[in-house]
Amino acid sequence: MKRILSILIFVLMFCSCNQVKKQNNSADVSKVERMQYDVLSVFSKKITIGDEIRIPLDAETTFYTETVQFYSKKDQQLLITMPLSSNTINVYDISKKNNCNQVNKIKIPLEGPNSVDGEIGGFLYHNRDSIFVLSKFGFKVGLINNEGEVLHKYQIQQEYSPNYTVPIVSTFSPISFIDNAFYFSGTVPEKKINGKFSGLLMKYDIEEKKTSYLLNNFPDGINAGYWERMVRLFYDVYSLGNNNQLLLSYMISDSLYLFNPKSQQLNSMMFKSSYVSTGEIKPFSKSYKKPKDYVERAKYTMAQPKYLGVKVDVLNNRIYRFVINKNSYANFTKGIFPDIYLIVSDLNFNILAEEKIDREKYKIDMCFVSNEGLYIANKQKYDQDDNFLVFDLFSIE
């Protein structure tokens, strides 16, 4: 009896819950796991940071905007933003880099005849009097003029369904309007249909008043297992002459895909990072098991290297793609964040350069392509003076 009790006490002492010792006083850099990869190729070019654009912000306008759009017509160069949760579209003239000014501020009401179902989730500045705005929960697109008057509303989805993507508009997943149809990418559907995700590219034809979901098989392997948000699709419009295509970038894929909406033809091109080993990307589960909470979801997502958005620069013969390295939760708790790289190629997908972006300084999801090239928002300059939103030009030597 005594022997049994002794064993029991022994076992209890070792099996009892452990107190989590978290004395995170400061990051011990020497013990941090560093992800090292061999550089697989020698690039012929280097990325340099040059001119800046300084946009004056009024007292109500803050830094972060989920959508940044450059618009150019004749001599006019405009930058359009929509600060987070503001329901306001700001239009700035950036023709003179050192003397930018705000030319319009369109406040969209949450209610009333000029509202578009409450909060706005994104916009497309088609021209001065044709601005498309997407309602936040993705069911309507409103067409407004420069006075903020609603001219028309399009019902692109009737209601939320777990089987289909819900459009999300951002700098890396803009609204596109091609041949009388809107294109969006959006959320990863909660459920599969017959074992497959519905297409992550949503199309709404304004003449037929019809919604369809395209590309439910790409990239390879996404229908096996549960990937959480890792199968997110980013894209940009790739227009050469009258040929309007979409250049697709999936988080988990080394390839870029050129999609022709008219012919439905799809071509893939390898566009792989030399610094980030994306072959390690795994699904959250091989079955359809989902993360139990926000923290588990975040831990999984941060542990995956992933490709982010893509930007097409036809004028300067460039394609830009961002990629972010993986991180561990342990590093995250020490305030250590993974590296972000910018890959630059020509329009024939020949990679010219890949370099690390200073993530303390630059907010890569606030970027745009203008006549000069790729501009990225400089958060550090805003922290120094929050009366200005500053973008720096990234170009190839």
């Binding site: 009892s16 978290k22 004395q23 803050t62 972060y64 926000y294 923290v295 708790t333 305030g335």
Partner: protein
């Protein structure tokens, strides 16, 4: 003999299992931080503190902020508030521009993110309950934790 052994066995069960508090600072550090930050405004009568990261689970944070604003919790001088991990100070000031909330004695804006840099790395706001300047409970304000809002209501 058996009775003598039962008590330590039970103690082993209950004392060894504590609420895990991943990625956050210790009680000792937190008390010290709040003392140094709030000074005479942190007293034996202080009932709670709420630490709100600016960046994290955005729905959790905005839900809590809306709740605190609409229920006047910031008016309760026995509750302390710390805003940390601040990404955009201008936005924070705009959000709390009414009623000078950020200028109150029971509210501290950790502009230099010292609390965050010292280890308070959390996706969620944290609620801390005091009794006579001792921490009696700490809870994350996350979607699965139904205990927090009733505790805030009872302050």
């Amino acid at each position: 003999m058996i009775r003598i052994l039962v008590i330590p066995i039970c103690l082993l069960f209950f004392l060894s299992c504590k609420e895990k508090n991943e990625a956050s600072v210790t009680d000792v550090f937190l008390l010290d931080y709040l003392e140094n930050t709030f000074k005479e405004n942190f007293t034996a009568q202080t009932k709670a503190a709420i630490i709100i990261p600016n960046v994290g689970c955005s729905s959790c944070i905005s839900q809590l902020e809306s709740y605190l604003l609409s229920n006047g919790i910031f008016d309760n001088k026995f509750v302390l508030f710390v805003f940390t991990n601040i990404d955009d100070l201008k936005l924070l000031k705009l959000r709390y521009s009414k009623n000078s909330i950020l200028q109150r004695n029971n509210v501290f804006v950790d502009k230099e993110n010292k609390l965050f840099n010292k280890g308070f790395i959390s996706f969620y706001p944290e609620f801390i309950l005091f009794s006579n300047k001792k921490i009696i409970r700490r809870l994350f304000v996350d979607p699965k934790n139904n205990d927090v809002y009733p505790l805030i209501d009872n302050l």
